[in-house]
């Protein structure tokens, strides 16, 4: 018998596979393909304190082996989530990571404080969304701010805090260390790279917000590099993501040092991606006579 079960920041999960925030809604949309409770955890779409409308149409475009999006944090607000979505997810037996974003430190603290009284299993704090002028980019690029947000959010909850970082920085290691210093229980790497596309017929940017987040296989080499760079420098576990579409991709991230992996754009490429990745990891363990997937974490460093 092989073991896919993993321990992430004190949580016992049936496997190390979750989804990228914002790519899986609140879970119900993928029910027609498989039961989301097969996942190690479900990560919710990014939520703010109050409902947010997001950006006007023109929110996405395909790029070579990737896509750009500027959804702009459209969400129903964290209270609505707690009332409408969370109970259903828990009923289905899902482990739930709530992804949150704030326009300032206070909003982060307030959302996390609110979620502390709910049934979510962990809180993923998005310091990286590049779409919203008030929040996003600024938070995740300054180690001091990262440490501050981490410290203040950790202080108001007994739930694990996972800090999700932006890759749009020169030195990801120092940012990850700042999160650890602030008391984070885990790190998510990476959010989208900031990109854009131009419509040469209209001679205008394609996206309504001009810029958008680049995701998908195109960014996998960058994401993997960041996980590999950060792994030896922190003691808290990493959720690796960026371009994972199959179990080989997931293995690369695990070998680079990811304790868990998240599938984002991969769900759009293949709605069964998560299920097939879980099966693929199981098969890999069996074929290679490895008892426990945790033996592979960071093995590429050895």
């Amino acid at each position: 018998m092989t073991n896919l079960a993993t321990n992430f920041a004190g949580l016992k999960l049936k496997n190390p596979v979750t989804v990228g925030s914002g790519t899986y809604g609140f879970g119900s949309e993928y029910k027609r393909f498989y039961n989301p409770n097969i996942l190690g955890a479900i990560t919710s779409k990014g939520m703010t304190l109050n409902e947010k409308e997001g950006n006007p149409p023109g929110r996405s475009i395909e790029t070579p082996s990737g896509m750009l999006n500027c959804v702009g944090l459209q969400n129903p607000g964290v209270e609505f989530f707690a009332k409408e979505h969370l109970p259903k997810l828990k009923e289905d037996g899902c482990t739930v990571f709530a992804n949150v974003a704030g326009k300032d430190v206070d909003e982060y603290v307030e959302i996390v404080r609110f979620l502390d009284s709910t049934e979510v299993d962990a809180i993923e704090v998005n310091l990286s969304c590049p779409n919203v002028a008030e929040g996003g980019i600024a938070f995740g690029t300054d180690p001091k701010v990262v440490e501050e947000v981490t410290r203040k959010t950790v202080a108001v909850t007994s739930k694990p805090i996972i800090i999700k970082l932006t890759p749009n920085v020169a030195d990801i290691v120092s940012i990850a260390q700042a999160a650890q210093n602030g008391g984070a229980h885990g790190i998510s790497l990476i959010n989208t790279l900031l990109g854009m596309s131009i419509d040469t017929k209209k001679r205008r940017p394609v996206l309504s917000n001009t810029f958008g987040g680049l995701s998908g296989p195109a960014i996998k080499p960058v994401a993997l590099r960041m996980v590999y760079q950060v792994y030896p420098h922190i003691d808290i576990p990493i959720i690796g993501m960026g371009g994972i579409v199959n179990s080989q991709d997931a293995l690369e991230f695990i070998m680079a040092g990811a304790q868990m992996v998240a599938v984002g754009t991969g769900n759009f490429v293949n709605p069964l991606a998560c299920q097939e990745i879980i099966e693929g990891l199981e098969m890999y363990l069996e074929e290679n006579d490895i008892e426990d997937i945790n033996q592979l974490v960071g093995i590429a460093h050895k």
Binding site: R32, M67, Q74, T265, F268
Partner: protein, 236 residues
């Protein structure tokens, strides 16, 4: 993803192909679409189900980019992968109405099955140049050709009969739908239109396919692609 076998993939008109895929009981409702996997492209392509039969279904698509070009090169017998039917189709529960069904360009594909279900309705088909699918409609048909300077909206408005319709169903390019919306607003005619937007998940999870409506943003993939004609807010 589901898998079917291509039974037919033939040119209908300029760059427009008809593909029949063997697959039992897809059971797509008129106006629903499927997400078709195109090798070499990351995201699947949304294509309306033009005809949903017991043992097969039909797509009609235009080659506009690499995904549809790849589709057009598939030969009989090869496999093709696609999602189950997605989106909300047309609401056909329209009683005691004199209905006009309008299709412009590729918008003719999604309305064929509607017109077959509502065979009392009149159908307005707007072609650029070459006609296609016209012989499949059991309805009374009015054709127009942009190459001859007449759009389907011109035809609809100019037709004497036009005055007596009290419900429209339409699919076509944004300009056509916008013009139709204007006409319907003036004449106070309700109806349903099917619109397009770039998509990713196709199931309402990723929120990239929004459109502006009178009631805020809605998702084309899961709230639509069919919306009440009066609800959609088009760009200027």
């Amino acid at each position: 993803m589901l898998t079917g076998k291509i039974e037919k993939n033939q040119l209908l008109a300029d760059d427009i192909f008809e593909m029949e895929i063997k697959y039992s009981n897809l059971s797509a409702k008129p106006g629903q679409f499927i997400n078709v996997v195109c090798d070499g492209k990351l995201l699947p392509r949304p294509i309306s189900v033009c005809q949903s039969k017991k043992e097969s279904f039909v797509l009609v698509y235009k080659v506009v980019g690499e995904g549809t070009k790849w589709l057009s090169k598939r030969i009989k017998g090869s496999e093709i992968r696609f999602s189950p039917p997605l989106g909300r189709g047309f609401n056909l529960d329209i009683k005691n109405k004199k209905i006009a069904i309008l299709g412009g360009g590729m918008g003719i594909a999604p309305i064929l099955s509607v017109a077959q279900a509502l065979d009392k309705a009149d159908v307005f088909l707007g072609y650029n140049n070459d006609e296609f699918l016209h012989d499949k409609f059991p309805n009374k048909i009015y054709k127009s050709f942009a190459s001859k300077g007449e759009t389907v909206i011109d035809r609809f408005v100019n037709s004497k009969v036009g005055k007596s319709y009290d419900y429209v169903i339409a699919c076509g390019p944004e300009g056509m739908l916008k013009a139709l919306q204007q006409v319907c607003k003036e004449k106070n005619i309700p109806g349903q239109i099917s619109i397009e937007q770039h998509m990713a998940c196709g199931v309402g999870a990723c929120l990239v396919c929004n459109c502006q409506t009178k009631h805020g943003y809605k998702l084309v993939c899961s709230d639509g692609p069919v919306f009440p004609i009066e609800e959609v807010v088009f760009n200027d």
